[in-house]
């Protein structure tokens, strides 16, 4: 069988990881890599990925790259928000390519802009391609995995999902948007001016769960508060003194007919172990039967996002055309073909 042709648009940590993983699989062929960073453009993609050369130069013009390389699927890893990636998805779809997009808001784009989602759906259908948003979270832990577990239930009263992770491996951008190292006052100002955002994806996860299990959510409320450290915490990119902020405790609550039915918690901080906090993914379904799941430690965010993006490729290629979400496709599965 001919390998599946993939173009990767955005060669940061996530897109670079997708390109690296794809290049290591016999059943995938990386046919283009696109980025806007002048330090990457024009260099061999393999070199940019810190691996063997790929005889492929990083390009700056997505439309030209699409026309030249004719990919079956484009992985878009350029931003978090629908408005950023929407024109990019349109460009890829117009070239007849399927799309897997890592933008958090694309995990369930109906949650943020239903008319934009419907427009993408129509475009994808008329081009005969499938568009999917995915990632570890939103995309898997606090939505797809929860949905799968509800599949054994006779009734559901409440769902709680908690993802406790360690931000230590992440770089300056994540430190800044989570408020790591700030004073509690700076954290409050950052929340107010939008420079500290916490997790992006609760609205998407909540809407996907609701659509899957038949809930009509009245509203999804979010709460963000600083995780103030009592000890010194140190990572490569951040130092947190006692009394400073180690991260953002971000919660979401979903209501049906005024009743709390969904609690999602995602406290993100550096070195949680410094205060004895164990990382993990936890899902608790109150219902019949009740279900309590613990994944310890948590499934790592970066690895998991790259993995699920690549593993969903065959499902996306086999799907009916249109804009889909993880709840619409077959259960995720490891996509083999790793070169030895």
């Amino acid at each position: 069988m001919e390998p599946i042709r993939i173009m990767v648009w955005g060669l940061g940590a996530m897109g670079g990881g997708i390109a690296r993983l794809a290049a290591a699989k016999e059943n995938l062929r990386v046919v283009a890599g696109v980025d806007r960073d002048p330090a990457k453009i024009g260099r061999d993609l393999g070199e940019v990925l810190a691996r063997d050369p790929l005889d492929l130069v990083v390009e700056s013009d997505p439309a030209a790259a699409l026309a030249r390389s004719k990919p079956d699927v484009v992985a878009i890893a350029t931003g978090s928000f629908l408005r950023e990636v929407e024109p990019q998805i349109e460009t890829a779809v117009a070239a007849g390519a399927n799309v897997i997009c890592l933008a958090e808001e694309m995990a369930y784009p109906w949650a943020v802009d239903a008319s934009a989602a419907d427009r993408l759906d129509r475009l994808a259908k008329s081009a005969g391609v499938t568009v999917l948003g995915t990632g570890i979270n939103p995309g898997f832990i606090l939505d797809t995995l929860i949905i799968a577990l509800t599949g054994v239930c006779h009734g559901i009263r409440r769902i709680k999902g908690v993802r406790i992770n360690d931000l230590s491996p992440f770089g300056p951008t994540v430190m800044r948007t989570q408020g790591v190292g700030t004073t509690p006052e700076e954290f409050a100002r950052g929340l107010a001016d939008g420079s500290i955002v916490g997790h992006i994806g609760f609205q998407q996860s909540a809407a996907m769960i609701a659509a899957a299990v038949g809930w009509r959510l009245d509203r999804v409320e979010e709460e963000r508060s600083p995780i103030v450290s009592t000890v010194r915490r140190q990572t490569e990119y951040a130092t947190v003194e006692p009394g400073r902020v180690a991260g953002c405790r971000h919660l979401a609550y979903g209501y049906v007919d005024g009743e709390l039915v969904l609690e999602l918690e995602h406290p993100q901080q550096v070195v949680p172990a410094a205060e004895g906090v164990e990382t993990g993914d936890y899902i608790s379904i109150t219902g019949s039967p009740g279900i309590d799941v613990a994944i310890k430690p948590e499934i790592p965010g970066g690895l998991g996002t790259i993995g699920i993006a690549v593993n969903m490729i065959p499902h996306v290629l086999a799907a009916q055309p249109g804009l889909v979400s993880m709840k619409d496709l077959p259960v995720p599965a490891f996509f083999g073909g790793n070169k030895m």
Copy 2:
């Protein structure tokens, strides 16, 4: 929207549970119940299910019930083995009904008889209906859930799944087929003569996982041994004296190119807590990333089987025609519409 019409074939513990759950949902309508037990035939189905009358009499002739009731889907809960349910599935498919079958061997029928599976696939396709085998295990814990978790992996070296459950609620048939209450010598003879079988479904779970993640399994070896109790264990249907057998420790090992890649363990016994054994479902993936999942206590087998059979109905109705397995359909999800 018109409710989905369901016929339930086999009104034992599982089929009866499906009929009861379906009758409690606004989006399902139980249109026929079929059983071969003279004590049930001719009685009101609701009464047989120990609930309000359903104005529906338990029938003995499946073909007549199908012709009269024109179900969208038939739930078949009559036996464990493909050869038992195959003619029943054919009857339902010939009547133009989709099928959800609880026979363990139907969870992945290609594992036991690929030509029978292909024949069912052709029949279903020519009738324009979908046939699915499901259940809690095989069907969910030791296959679908494992597959879903591999969806984040870059590589997999080994998968281990363990389901430790408590047989105490089950009746005489389960006690007998698991060897509960026997001496170790009787247990050995029961294994030899086939009266003690342990778990049915390892071959199916292993084959489904392998197909999903791209493994070519050389072989799947199974081991059964007695769980000999050191204490007295008592349930409604069984008494186990010290030195007697409390259940069957059933293991399966799958190999690729001679290397062990899959371990499935399913020790089934009465009152495991009597010796401090905690029940639970455990999945451990050795790979990148490694994943360790614990579900404590285990998702209950009877409830879970009934739940997933009913919850898969909309996915089966929306699927392409043919014989499918859980890996082919969208992630399971709670199917709402419970009457208040």
